[in-house]
Symmetry: D2
Subunit: 364 residues, 4 copies
């Protein structure tokens, strides 16, 4: 449990450095009988692929995925599924300028202090490429959720100071920023171009809405559904904030404003509002689950920056090369993947909550 | 792992319902040789004790703690420490008005859906009293951290719309709201009184600053130090947001503003600013760790609210009785406890990061 | 995870030193809706109670158990169940003769090396009293299994060189050694008396037969059902061997002798023999699960023994006082408890093995 | 945690079906700074390679291993190490005779009941090839242990009824059965030839001796060092018994015979005998750790056997093809690998046992 393993029943173990031989994941605990092929994974991976627009790095990463195990005759076996993406674009770049330098805003210094030794090429394990394994696993979890009628819609809520003002799901894939508001996307593109001209970068907020989640799922206390989502989302590099429902806004409101009244609709318990974001006391309440993650600006910028190297010499550096001016659009699918993993895992764990249903399960 | 166990090496297992016989915790993985007595625990528990001011519930909870195991001749044995607080103030109140009703903003409906059966007295397991076990364990972790030169300072940053404008650590314990700004505390008290007159409640934000944390601690990927803090803090009832360093503000800034330049001070790598909040890539960077948690307003309010009961009948309820108009001041020590548990656990896990230090450890 | 937590979904966390204030367990992951009261626990605890015959220690341990949480109106809530047994017979004995001495065959030296400090009274955490928490949890697991039609029969197979030759379940509780063979029990009693006269002690073998376990339960690879049983049983102090089905005998047989032929009985797949002991490839095969545990002789003997103390001085000691000449009869219920915990945990985990059944579960 | 993940700090996650695309492992928690290359892994893998003698299957499995991550410039990075072995010898054999048949002594029926669907080619996940991932990880753990002065010697103790009578370490690699006794190896070879003529198979016992393990390592209660070894070894397919030190023999001896007297040698606490097998109360005592595992006879035999297929039709089958008449010699390195993983993991976890050493560790 040195940190690259996540989940309880649906458990992922990721591996890989940015410029190493390959990256990937082993997913243990995938139930048997799910239809699965490489295409299912690729459709997710393509959403985090670089080179899609002027706002993503120009690196060429075809990300061809191989399923090494756990699938037979097109179906999951119940055994671990190993997925691997070989690095193809490993050109032997000259890293001498950053090899022993701690880049500001990066994990370099922490890795050096922790391990005394690091793969300096492209960030090594702390690179955004680390998320490949997560997205592969997320594709599987999403397929499982879909078969249960649960779907996730994830998009960019804001880029820098530019926030969306309207929501049209069909817009999300029509602009390179994955924003559900065409006008805001336009403004955000302009903002990004201005950043790039200044050799600067931007951050933003990703939002995810989960529909179809049954009520009563999630474990009270430490494994609250929102607490596991918080860990999962915060484990994505560059995330600096996480909130659910009204989030930080709830801290400024009053109980009478923030409480959601219960009512009965179609013979079911429903809520008239959803300030809670679909989770109460750590357990799903049957409403949509709504959460947001704040991403910091890409730390790799071409401006001159002051820093220190491994020999404790102060230096100035400019980080040139192929870097995303904003990582938010490519992070959208990573957020969705981590959420899918948490939700499916919670659904599996929840099957053990009532003794009568367990007895019933084994009677069939 | 049904949700009441947390931590890897320093692992806590809490138990107890609000109006059950007792609440407490078993802490496994406490290293041997720490001086520990009931007083150490009580000094923490007293910070979450109700009845301390007009802004906390009038319930009388003396919270006398018993150490049942794991301590011998005043020192920890290395074996599990069981801590128990018996419920004294269990007056057989009449619960008929809320027994089968789902209180808005509460976990009642989720527990009913999940378990089909619940302890309706005072929220049962979803009560704020559930945090007693966390605080007991946090007291132990804090003692261990103190012996390593690591300290935590936690306080109320805002109550409703009233935010602190200045920081004076000595002020924190001088006002009932645990705010480090006397003037803001005054304003917040007035705001709370107004809420109470309206039979309403307030939320707020708690901030925690950790000093003395060495650089290089935390596991990359899923167990990033901030990801574990996010889970730990989000697992506290009523938390709806978590952020570290600039948090959501980072999403609106640019790379050149948000990156912290490295420099050398006293022969050590330091950062000139701390927008990151002391953690980069999930690993501590040697600066203070700074994070915030948003708490929603207390859901129990005496205003008339619309809701539903277990038989799906719509109802109006008023939640009378002894309830905190704001839980933020009492949550301060809970946030500090959870953070202490995460940090100490990470320090233990980190000892295995370098082979040469392991070899060296066993040579002695 | 410092070693006092066991199980995944049905997870126990035990605590307590032999002569500390109390011993007990917190059981997390007990499904809601099981009828449970203190009597259910006591009926199990009474089977490990000392003072029942001349072959068990004369210590008076009434072992009154208190349920502190997780049960409401006679039913489990789905929340953690804390169970505590206070030590009553803590007479302030003089421990000066063993205080800093490493008793042969005991854990004293290991604890001293590991922790540098130990509770020398009665073995502290390494005492047989540590099993109280296990038995409390085992009583709960057994109740759950019984409601699913699964039962365990556990007994003494041999004491020293005296082995049972016949099996009559009704005999088990008729003799103080829990042997299913009256004649063998008689011989074993004589053997034990001879040992006691020599100030010596004896070991033995416990056997457990599980009936009603459905086929298809257990996780392949590391969490094979027999591998988890092996850990669970080997974690009981004094166990030195574990085997399933033919066990070590299988190593001497041939494939044609050892393979169990499959056949069809009453429309179900059955085996004509059960050399496998009910588990194939780590998964239950629907036959009875049969395993054995070898217990070493009680290490506390009144004979003069050579040893060393904490200051590395060689010494002679005689361990006087109240010690069982054989622990096997009292260990029977501990073996049964650990097995019940493993089996119920495996049944819960197994619910997630097929996608169609998961979809079906959530449709209801 | 569906069963293919093992270990706490040094954690392995294996994958792969016998005739799938590849098999392998991800090892998380390998400390940084260990020299590691493919050769280190291959030297272990070659010990389980088939085709080495007339007593192992004739399959040609070159087992070329690739390190995909976690190693940079010849050293471990502290990040997960992914190791993969592609299947080369996947000839499209005709499986129609066993496709839907439950082979006696195999896991086929259990997999079918659990997952409803299985990879019938060569046993799929329940094949002996599943151990490839274990051996890869074991090679890494063994390198780490070696740097701490800890070594493992593993060999065949018996084949069928033929047991070793003498021990000469240099003999082990001189005969195809890995026996430390040349005369016994000769006899065992004859026994095996006789079995093969009868279209039958044999079992046997593997023994492992660990030297150099420091005293004081292992966690009391459920994660006793011997309990973790028991799980690890029992998780190897075909193991039916496990014992430590005197093992089942201890159950027949008396306390005065079985207790090991402590003494002082070279200023250190030692034991005059080692009936305990190097572990007391679950904690290493500084003596050699000695344990044994019983393997059942290979279930695949060419004799006619009675069985059932998926449609519940009774059948006769002969399992022809390339099968080991005994798996014991090839299992030797698997046993050693699992033991190395357990021991190194325990050493890492043990670093957190004393507060003063933790404080000291972070002071440097």
């Amino acid at each position: 449990m040195a940190g690259s393993v996540f989940g309880k029943q649906f458990q992922i173990s990721t591996f890989g450095e940015s410029h190493g031989k390959a990256l990937g994941v082993v997913v243990d605990g995938v139930p048997a009988g799910i239809d699965l092929c490489e295409e299912d994974i690729l459709s997710f991976l393509s959403r985090r692929k670089p080179g899609q627009s002027e706002f993503t790095t120009k690196r060429n990463e075809p990300d061809e995925v191989e399923i090494l195990s756990g699938v037979f005759e097109g179906k999951t076996l119940g055994t671990p599924i190993a997925l691997v993406v070989y690095n193809k674009d490993q050109k032997s770049k000259d890293y001498s300028n950053i090899k022993d330098v701690f880049r500001p805003g990066h994990a370099d210094f922490g890795f050096f202090e922790k391990y005394g030794f690091r793969d300096y090429r492209g960030g090594g394990r702390s690179s955004g490429r680390e998320t490949i394994g997560r997205v592969c696993a997320g594709a599987i979890a999403s397929k499982a959720l879909a078969s249960m009628g649960i779907s996730l819609c994830t998009y960019t809520r804001s880029i820098g100071p530019v926030e969306m003002n309207s929501f049209d799901a069909s817009e999300i894939t029509k602009n390179p920023l994955y924003m559900p508001d065409a006008a805001a996307a336009k403004k955000a593109e302009e903002y990004l171009k201005a950043c790039m001209e200044e050799k600067d970068s931007a951050g933003g907020v990703v939002e995810c809405v989960v529909s179809g989640m049954p009520a009563g799922v999630g474990e009270p206390v430490f494994d609250k559904l929102d607490a596991k989502l918080a860990q999962a989302i915060f484990s994505i590099g560059a995330v600096k904030g996480f909130e659910i429902g009204e989030g930080f806004g709830a801290a400024r409101s009053t109980g009478s404003e923030n409480n959601d009244a219960f009512c009965v609709k179609d013979g079911k318990v429903k809520k008239e509002t959803n300030h809670a974001g679909g989770i109460l006391g750590g357990i799903s309440d049957g409403s949509d689950i709504v959460f947001r993650a704040a991403f910091k600006p890409t730390p790799s910028i071409a401006q001159l920056q002051h820093t220190v190297d491994e020999s404790l010499t102060e230096k100035e550096i400019e980080i040139t090369g192929r870097h995303d001016p904003v990582i938010v659009p490519r992070a959208v699918v990573v957020v969705e993947s981590m959420a899918a993993i948490v939700l499916f895992d919670a659904l599996l764990e929840n099957m053990a909550s009532k003794m009568d249903r367990i007895v019933d399960f084994y009677k069939r």
